[in-house]
């Protein structure tokens, strides 16, 4: 049987469509998610299939429609709300961190918020400081939000179905560069086998995308794909990197990371979010607390060096982890 190949954007749209067919309470709201199909393709074809009552184009009012998503979720619906760019959470942070994240807790567990906020994240294509951020680390810091970051079409579908069925608020960050869009830099890893049947991928279970014994690379999203490219180059040099895809930041699969570190004794973290006070620091702290004695050499972090994302190409390429920097740092760790 030949495997069916889909881009990540089509895998996400299929996951949403299948859940909408299964559950009448699932619907989608957001800017340009109807006739346009979502600026990054995640809702392509859904308007034609389900009509404007369930695929709702909204005005540019994130506070209004994210708040409305929370209210609809409180009434038992399962809204999927797209915030076009993760950067745009700036205008709706109150609804996300003070309401969506906290209502279940503040209500003593009596009110559930089963909603998905879907966001496009990431840079690397010259969109500069207000359209290129990742920001999952900032939201992972707030208790009460599950954080998903897929890095393959297969994972994207299974994680989206899981997100829709989860009774908690989930922020689902997909990288623009992994969607397989015709107008982004061609990315062979953005297309992959995706079963037609609905399936779920549990949260909090990292995926060892490549096994190795010499160095552990932990990453997610586009950087995970870049780390896999790096692992191929490293293999040609005789260095076997183990590449772990977190898939969800919250909940975080500590166990898989620690077990890998116990095996390789070396850890490289590759993160497209800001370096300080974020995911890479958290992972380092976990390993320091729970597996320090297994490390043969200090943890190494590659992340955006605490600057906004610059526009000009040489500057933007400089601040993102690159194939070259990943290879060089992994090689350095393996030799230590």
């Amino acid at each position: 049987m030949t495997e069916r190949l889909l881009t990540q954007s089509k895998a996400i749209a299929e996951a949403i469509a299948q859940e909408m067919e299964r559950d009448q309470d699932v619907f989608v709201m957001g800017e340009d998610i109807g006739a346009y199909g979502g600026i990054f393709g995640a809702t392509e074809g859904l308007l034609q299939k389900f009509g404007p009552e369930r695929i709702m184009d909204t005005p540019i009012s994130e506070t209004g429609f994210v708040g409305a998503g929370i209210g609809a979720a409180m009434e038992g619906m399962r809204p999927i709300v797209e915030i076009m760019f993760a950067d745009f959470t700036g205008v709706v942070t109150d609804q996300l961190i003070n309401h969506m994240a906290k209502i279940h807790y503040m209500s003593g567990g009596t009110v559930k918020i089963p909603m998905v906020v879907m966001l496009a994240m990431g840079g690397g294509y010259g969109d500069a400081a207000q359209h290129s951020q990742c920001l999952y680390g900032m939201f992972a810091h707030i208790p009460g939000i599950k954080i998903v970051v897929p890095s393959s079409p297969y994972d994207a579908k299974g994680l989206m179905i899981q997100a829709i069925r989860d009774d908690n608020p989930v922020m689902y960050f997909f990288h623009k560069g992994t969607q397989g869009l015709g107008w982004m830099t061609p990315n062979p890893r953005a297309t992959g086998p995706v079963p037609e049947v609905p399936y779920t991928i549990p949260f909090g279970v990292a995926d060892i995308k490549r096994e190795g014994k010499d160095v552990t690379i932990v990453s997610l999203g586009l950087m995970l794909q870049r780390s896999l490219d790096a692992a191929e180059k490293l293999a040609a040099e005789g260095i076997e990197a183990e590449v772990i895809d977190l898939r969800t930041v919250v909940p975080l699969d500590k166990k898989t990371i620690i077990q890998s570190v116990q095996k390789t004794h070396r850890l490289l973290i590759v993160d497209e979010d800001y370096k300080s006070f974020g995911l890479s620091g958290e992972l380092s702290a976990i390993v320091a607390e729970e597996a320090l004695e297994y490390l043969d050499t200090p943890v190494k972090r590659l992340a955006v060096p605490d600057v906004p994302i610059p526009y000009s190409r040489p500057m933007e390429q400089f601040i993102q982890p690159s194939l070259e920097t990943i290879v060089a740092n992994a090689r350095g760790l393996a030799a230590a």
Binding site: F65, V66, G69, I70, A72, M74, E75, H104, G108, T110
Partner: protein
């Protein structure tokens, strides 16, 4: 419109119940906090925003609501949830931080949730309005004749969340009633220097939403305006806006020195006590005697005392319960 004795008596009783709760909380709150006011000390820690004086608004609106209608409140929501029909014991236990409270001690006075009543409120001004829009959206999607009411202060009417919500409710033609309680001050900042229009009714016009201004100290006026707005929403004819001119008889929160008030201002408003105003009207019709009014007060004070005893005798949550309920 001539309202029946039964309706007026219900309104009178509800307002009296709210007043009894707030009067008692206004005393209990200071237990253990004095002589030097310490917000963290005492039987009820944290801020305390009482509804005293505004009883007519919550009462006149919620009189039209069913148990399955939605209400989103504010930081000053005891009146709203009482008018919606909350179990006073559970409410009081929550305010006392007890395990038997509405939210098992996780919420407190500013964050009261009662899913059976479809009631929620919170401490961020204007944030509940879009959530009520979402509640209304769910009702419309489910083809129900339910209604969502968002209470907000006149200060919240200057927040973006209000304007986005009005636009969404209108463009989606949702069963929403927005009730602005104009008590003249956003904490200390008067409406005159914060709001571009004298009346928020004009802002209703901007969104194509029918809007009326009413005397918020007159529960009959509020009742009649809300009757039309709620009926309109129930018929599927879209959102409405009500602005009720009212006044809080206590500070923004307990401990407010109220240096921003002009001399004699509060005293003159206290002459427009909504409970007294309704009581006099009923007495003029022979529908209420002084003895009956007294007996209602005694009854409500008794209910509050019972709720307070329940709260005080209830256990606190175990400290480590703080680690639960982050996720469902």
């Amino acid at each position: 419109m001539a309202l029946s004795k039964e309706v007026l008596l219900d309104l009178y009783r509800t307002m009296s119940k709210i007043r009894a709760v707030e009067d008692r909380l206004g005393v209990v709150y200071y237990e253990g906090k004095l002589p030097a006011f310490d917000i963290a000390a005492g039987v009820i820690p944290g801020e305390m925003h009482l509804y005293t004086g505004q009883e007519a608004v919550a009462t006149g609106v919620c009189a039209h609501l069913r148990k399955d209608d939605w209400v989103s409140g504010t930081h000053r929501s005891h009146g709203h949830i009482i008018a919606k029909g909350v179990d006073l014991k559970k409410m009081m236990a929550e305010i006392f931080g007890r395990k038997t409270g509405l939210c098992h001690g996780y919420g407190g006075h500013m964050h009261l949730f009662d899913p059976d009543l479809h009631f929620g409120c919170g401490g961020i001004v204007a944030a509940g309005i879009p959530q009520a829009v979402g509640g209304a959206l769910a009702m419309k999607k489910h083809n129900e004749d339910r209604v969502a009411v968002a209470f907000l202060g006149e200060g919240a009417a200057n927040a973006g969340a209000f304007h986005e919500s009005m636009n969404l409710a209108a463009v989606w033609k949702l069963p929403l009633v927005a009730v602005i309680e104009d008590n003249l001050y956003a904490i200390s900042v008067p409406k005159t220097i914060s709001t571009s229009v004298e009346s928020n009714v004009k802002r209703g016009v901007a969104y194509g939403i029918p809007a009326v201004q009413v005397d918020g100290q007159d529960v009959i006026a509020v009742y009649e305006a809300a009757q039309e707005a709620v009926a309109r929403a129930r018929r599927g004819e879209g959102p409405s806006l009500i602005e009720a001119a009212c006044y809080r008889f206590r500070g923004h929160f307990e401990g407010d020195a109220e240096g921003y008030l002009s001399k004699g201002e509060k005293e003159s408003w206290k002459e427009k006590d909504p409970i007294v105003i309704l009581g006099e009207k009923m007495k003029a019709k022979g529908w209420l005697t002084d003895a009956e009014a007294e007996s209602i007060q005694v009854e409500m004070t008794g209910l509050v005392a019972e709720a307070e005893t329940f709260a005080r005798e209830s256990p606190f949550p175990a400290p480590e319960e703080a680690l639960e309920n982050v996720f469902a």
